[in-house]
Point group: D2
Chain length 341, copies 4
């Protein structure tokens, strides 16, 4: 259950609600928000009797929630959430494409590719400065230097930046440069990181963990929302199964499930899902056909020379072709590519 209170409810009003609920034997979690304050009630196996609550001062309404997640669910907020990133709206009618290299490798590389993806119609620039790698001996990213190059690419192109933050100690640093903070699949249940990112007030792109259920993904998002940050973009990027023909198994069915359960935008990452640039386009088209709000794609000026993820990176020509395909499939499901201003 959620008790929604006015944004300007007084501390005394909140405490009265909280103590009333606790008297009934439940726990409360006061959740700040931009528009309203929510008080999540947990510990109730069955529906709580609510008459006594709606009459309290400051209370706007009481929302019954039947799922383990609350703020991310459609019970709490039926209409779609839209997120604005430098004039680009994610989660609205239009499709949004984030593109760029797996890793920022040099100033020249990121400036070149930023121009190319912009020309081809991309809306945001992706690129990793901090790279989570299975082996300690692999390239770990240019770190702050990479962030600076991303910022320069943004200055040149106007494209907002999506980049990963791997560690609580770098949240502040990454947030200085990034327009969207990405949480990678391996960190989806790094709860401390989720909390800290939740406090930065910047949009978050949350990737589904390799073996995370849809419910776990939504609960991970709940960590961010429960810190008062409602700007979370969910990302399906393939799950780990027995099949090894592609790097992961893209769970296309997760897209309509997430859209049904949650009001948050859902994007797809066909590059990591497939690990094979020749399969990126068909999976990207499938994601849009299934209802995704956008894509995040790896594009590299010369994939064969990429320091990371070359085999799954599109070259600029392949990316241009894919943008045209996305546009056509989008139209077939009633959606246009976002018109950049």
């Amino acid at each position: 259950m959620l008790v929604m209170m006015k944004k300007d409810a007084t501390t005394a009003q909140i405490e009265r609600v909280v103590s009333r609920i606790r008297d009934l034997g439940y726990q409360t979690h006061v959740l700040p928000g931009a528009v309203r304050i929510a008080i999540a009630v947990t510990g109730n196996d069955r529906a709580v009797r609510v008459e006594n609550l709606e009459s309290l001062e400051g209370v706007v309404e009481v929302v019954s929630v039947t799922k383990p997640f609350k703020l991310v669910g459609r019970d709490f907020k039926p209409e779609n959430t839209t997120i604005d990133v430098r004039g680009v709206t994610i989660g609205g009618d239009d499709l949004v494409v984030m593109a760029g290299p797996c890793s920022v490798e040099s100033r020249d590389q990121i400036l070149e590719i930023a121009e190319r993806v912009k020309q081809a119609g991309a809306h945001l620039l992706r690129g990793g400065a901090f790279k989570p790698r299975s082996s300690p001996y692999s390239f770990q990213g240019l770190k702050e230097e990479g962030l600076k190059y991303l910022a320069q690419a943004r200055d040149r192109t106007g494209l907002g930046i999506v980049t990963e933050v791997m560690s609580t100690e770098h949240v502040g640093l990454v947030a200085e440069y990034a327009d969207v903070l990405q949480i990678g699949a391996r960190n989806m249940q790094n709860f401390t990181l989720l909390e800290q990112v939740g406090r930065m007030g910047k949009p978050v792109l949350l990737k589904r963990g390799m073996s995370a259920t849809i419910t776990e993904l939504l609960l991970a998002a709940e960590y961010v929302l429960s810190e008062g940050n409602y700007q979370v973009i969910l990302c399906e990027r393939g799950i780990r199964t027995f099949e090894t023909a592609l790097r992961n198994t893209f769970d296309v069915g997760a897209i309509p499930v997430l859209k049904q359960l949650s009001h948050l935008p859902v994007v797809a990452d066909p590059s990591h899902a497939t690990g094979d640039h020749t399969k990126v386009a068909p999976v990207a088209r499938a994601a849009i056909a299934a209802g995704a709000d956008g894509l995040i794609l790896e594009v590299h000026p010369r994939p064969a020379e990429a320091l990371t993820d070359g085999p799954q990176s599109l070259n600029p020509t392949e990316f241009e072709s894919l943008m045209a395909q996305i546009e056509r499939v989008g139209q077939a499901v009633g959606r246009s590519l976002h018109a950049r201003r």
Copy 2:
């Protein structure tokens, strides 16, 4: 390696090729075919020296094959295979839709739904007379009676019939009625059944096993082709993973992988993949966007009353709506719905 011989090669010519290959220490498998006779060579870890073979009488060409499967692969036959079922071409430029109930439940039910799916544009009628069920206490289908009703529905509507054969002892019976013999997911590695079905000379729809790799699916198809029947339709129907939000995880990435590796048509079964009629349309659209040649869909006149698989069955109105969506997505990827003659 495959040695391709003229269709009218004599027994003596074949034996000469076989003995020459065996002398080199390899095994041979003589594979009958409608157009040519193929001799598969196995037991060779590396490429076989071929000069000596192409000069033998009756030999058309020698094909090098680097995969465990041979006849189903593009090495053997680069161009797409098309299969004709009562004037409907599967695997060609156009999209084909097979629709109907999970089970044939009564004469009235199948006649009613056959008319409905035909009106909505379906090309073939699906319906189970023999039903594989996890429990021996569940409804096992109407068996031969069901086959007769399917034949009556075909007489009325002109729609060819796709129906499952579960057992070697029923292959002859089912083949008397069916236009396409379906092998279910649980029987994908019932090799004796594959061989027998391979000998019937009728098109086969082969469903991917719940935990079968793509390579295993292609090797299962190879069993059918190696009996001389090249008319196999591959079907992605979802795999078993840890995710339980839907019944299975639809492996949309398998579609472009199969199309790349094999010349056989690939269709998708979003009904079994999702187990939820509200998710059938987005997954169906995704499959087409990813390059599938068609769909097999469960449609029931009154899903709530279905004896089997009601929750995943579309009602006729939902089906009509989906046909329109498929048409639009098909156009976006350059394909039309097959025009029924």
Copy 3:
């Protein structure tokens, strides 16, 4: 629900019970048995009122069953089932070991290995005459010739024979030779085969499918029992997961779960589970420690020369060493190796 009737209940008595249950709106399944006749009642979502049934003539008792499986469950039969194979008791206090090659390759091979495994203490001889192979080009077994060699090995050693039957058309043939009919993992849901095997009156070793749940394994066994054959041995042989370090993931936890849910004996197949002869011993010990009633193991006189499954086959020396280890672990959990008579 199960209605248990006397073995000599008359047809009229059975029909009276059946019609009484059907009047209540449920379905009935009359299940023959060696000791009693069971009537399974399905279609009841909640408990059926039973007063009216126990008073009918011929009825012994009415058993409430809360699981989808009935005859295989402990609700139906709380005490362990024991199965006698040529004087060897499976499912009793003592541990039973079945050993032999993956495939019967020649008369000499099977006679040699039969002697060796007997000397080392094995209780039954395993060996495949019909081999299910992913590829149609792989060695498919010696078929009837192999069965004859197995019979000769039995004549020489006195060891009962466990061998696979792959197809309904060979059930009669295999049953002529075998003491235990094995159903392989790929055929676990070949329901027609299960039914036919259920009618042969011979013990059945039923392997868990590669991606079968424990419930599905028990329902597959139910198919055999519902034909009147209560002699089923369940076999855990590893499931398919994302981990590729070994061939399959041995689900050791399935052993206590199966022992809790079912009265049937449970054995383990560490050879197929691991695919690596150096890992067979630790997994075999683990299975016994977890409560398995026995093991089925691949042993080959010269694994490097095996036609199938060489890498996972123990040589006779390794097998002797393992028998000693099994004996010690067995004693630690209160069980001895069966003493051959």
Copy 4:
């Protein structure tokens, strides 16, 4: 490849080796160590020519490494690593048992259970003060208060403490209290956390991620070792598969695989693997039979009242019984329970 240098090698000596290797076009990673300094060489697809290196001053030997992991592998260190925790040796001949509640819930609870597990023969006390929870609304642990209670329990009983650290910002705090720092399954690829924990010089218990391959687990351990901390205990705790009868699928085969590939101790966590206290004992016995060096077990004075993980917690009586079983199975595989000093 690894170049092993004397512990007292000078900076100049190290630099000479590094520059020589870089001249050959490879990357170097200087890895501090207690006994020797290792220089890992990466970027070599094939074996590096080594003559020129072994003659350089300060170089002890050059170790060829064929796996992606280096320091954790048996190539680098063939003999078993043993780790001493307050006089308890982990990874040696004897078995070690860590026991205690999932969460520290109160001072009384932890003191009571510490006494009980000690009496029953446990060697170390486990208990969570920081709890990673899927939902932000679940009990998150007593945090520093919990650590203090653990320290009091250690003062009373002499048992060393194993407790989880979830976040880089708490590494220092947790290390003040803990004898063994636990990295949970969800954080197995939180690389920043692994690096920081690697710098604390305290033993680390590293749990396998829910969908981590064995190679990924070893690479995660490599992160800790590459910071100079060689005291890592690997922990198999079940993987996520399609089977839902138990909470996870305990991968018993991983134990001999890990012991073969790595010199590090391997323990098992049957409590999280099964999620069911009635299945903990069989899986614990299986782990020991398969070669595990010890166990980590959840024991609660009154499981029904536990705030977390009650269903999988043993009560003290069950734990005593299990200790006796472990002792017997241990003896069967040639190992004794560690004798507490």
